[in-house]
Amino acid sequence: MNRARDQILGTIRKSLADGEPRTTARLEELRSRIQNSRPQVQPEFDDELLARFCQKHVAVHGTYERISAKDIESAVVKHLASIGLDAQWHLGSGPVLDAMQWTDKVFVYRKGADRDTKAALSEAVAAVAETGTLVMCSGPTVPPSQNYLPDDHLVVVDRRRIVRHMEDAWAILRESGATRGRAINLITGPSKTGDIEQTIQYGAHGPRRLHLLIVEDT
């Protein structure tokens, strides 16, 4: 196996130059290019971040409501009831959700979703106004299956965590160490497929609906 590695790297070096292995100095140069990496060309827009984010989210078939933190539970219950679901869901984690005191009128499961999970409530680490994208990071209390198995995915977005470009989200992740976790899931709208006659159909394998609770007063 190591022979394969050496042979492939050897052919690359021979094709590119004289076949000499990389010196440590050269590797350091590449490493430092990575460490000093900066945003490059970015789409410019003047829109206010929240408005832009909501507009992009709706454009990809998402729904949202803007609420106050104290109304999260009632908003979730009401939303689930509107699609005929009971007040129970799989629960993720995040600064806003972790501060919640759930009443005994609801039932939350703090575990990964399974094949029959109807609804999950997660919190986005960041949201990108550029494309209406949610940034989710896995962790001990954040199982990524909650993003993909439920029919209905509800996500709490702290308004202050809406950033302009994708690169701004990377900066947050690098700072918090989230890039060292197993999964970074960027989510832009509900699951869909165009594989049958190139016509969009929602709810392919992941959530059929994606509903955001944008919290304005954290």
Partner: protein, 477 residues
Amino acid sequence: MSVSTASHRVEFQDRAKQALQDVSLQRALAKARGGFVDHRQEAIDALPEFDAIRDAARDIKNHVLANLDGYLELYEQQVIENGGQVHWARDAEEACQIIAGICKEAQAKTVTKGKSMVSEEMHLNPVLEAAGMTVVETDLGEYIVQLAGETPSHIIAPAVHKTREQITDLFHEHHSPLGYTDRVTQREALVNEARSVLRERFVTADVGITGANFLVAETGANVIVTNEGNGDLTSCLPRVHIVTAGIEKIVPSLDDLAVLLRVLARSATGQEFSAYTSLYSGPRRPGDMEGPEAYHVVLLDNGRSRLLGGQYQAMLRCIRCGACLNHCPVYGSIGGHAYGWVYSGPMGSVLTPLLNGFDQSLDLPNACTLNGRCKEVCPVRIPLSDLLLKHRVEQHERRLSSGFGRFLLGAWAWLACRPRLYQGVMALPLRVMHMLGRRRGGLTWLPGVGGWTGSRDFPAPARRSFMRQWQSRKVRS
């Protein structure tokens, strides 16, 4: 070699002919035509920076290719640091053996797969099936193609050649034994049925295999760009996650990734961003309540490393968006299967001979009108039509092209280098063609090129050649 050359030639022409006469295929292609093209155009019209971003994307890819050995080493270090393993495969067979080995060690019975063109390139499924495993493609298009016992006909829309009626028949045949006895015909019902059948597979699979749109050296993550969520269920649920990728898939940093993501989805489907773009690195971390226990990356060379530094290096910039297929009139007429291998359209016509050998698929670089749309739409500015021309030159120089064609070219070149003789020899045929085509303005048939004139007229030449007219004007003045 001449025998195999001849047989390949016949195969392509036969397949193309068959495709043109295949009513279902032509209906499916007609339905797809335009959709991709229009959506891409709308997405690009909405992004004034698109060309600048394309330049940046090209530059990132060039930088990586010029330093590929170094970036592969840095990427490998990161994967290991995250607790994953990197395997290197020189060719398709080696890659299949490595993957089969990992699956056997995990005592896998069921293997789910996300969409991976590299796994198609290495013909992985038959190898795993021969080892007694059940392999399930989970991308809806790939699943349809798998049920039909076919290969993808488009790198991002594998079942673009299938009509809804054909999909209905396939599902009815394969899902009835599973208890889905109603024959469903509507799109929504078809998608729901596949969702339900595949959900069972996702939660019971032992190993998940996905591809990678990118490999990020900064974090050691593989990136998958999808819309359905199947790639994520394949990455997250099984005990073992295997990633297959070509060695050219590296990007240095997350900021570089952002640039490439801005051109990928727009070029592929006209989306600003796909529904799901995910970065996975290593197995589950200590304390995680779910995620695979093992994470393997199998890096495939299969001829790529030889292309570096040569005249076809630009082809390694390809991010497999499919824009060149969608804009190619040849692809649009014959579909992907006629190309004979996993990669089709302009990128396939360039890549297939490079990876499989120049003496293979000789017709592919010639099955091109050189209209240049592929080159125009490529998000990383690969000069595809120029590379196809290079292939033609190489075929000529290696004497792989037809002997008669080379003789004609040689004769014409000899004549064209002797201007007086050339004008003398050409005067008579031009005059005859002028007379014959005078009335209609064109000729409906010419000896020896009936195939060409079969579908269009040859414009009638002027009575006298340009040189003659020029000379007589000079005399007059």
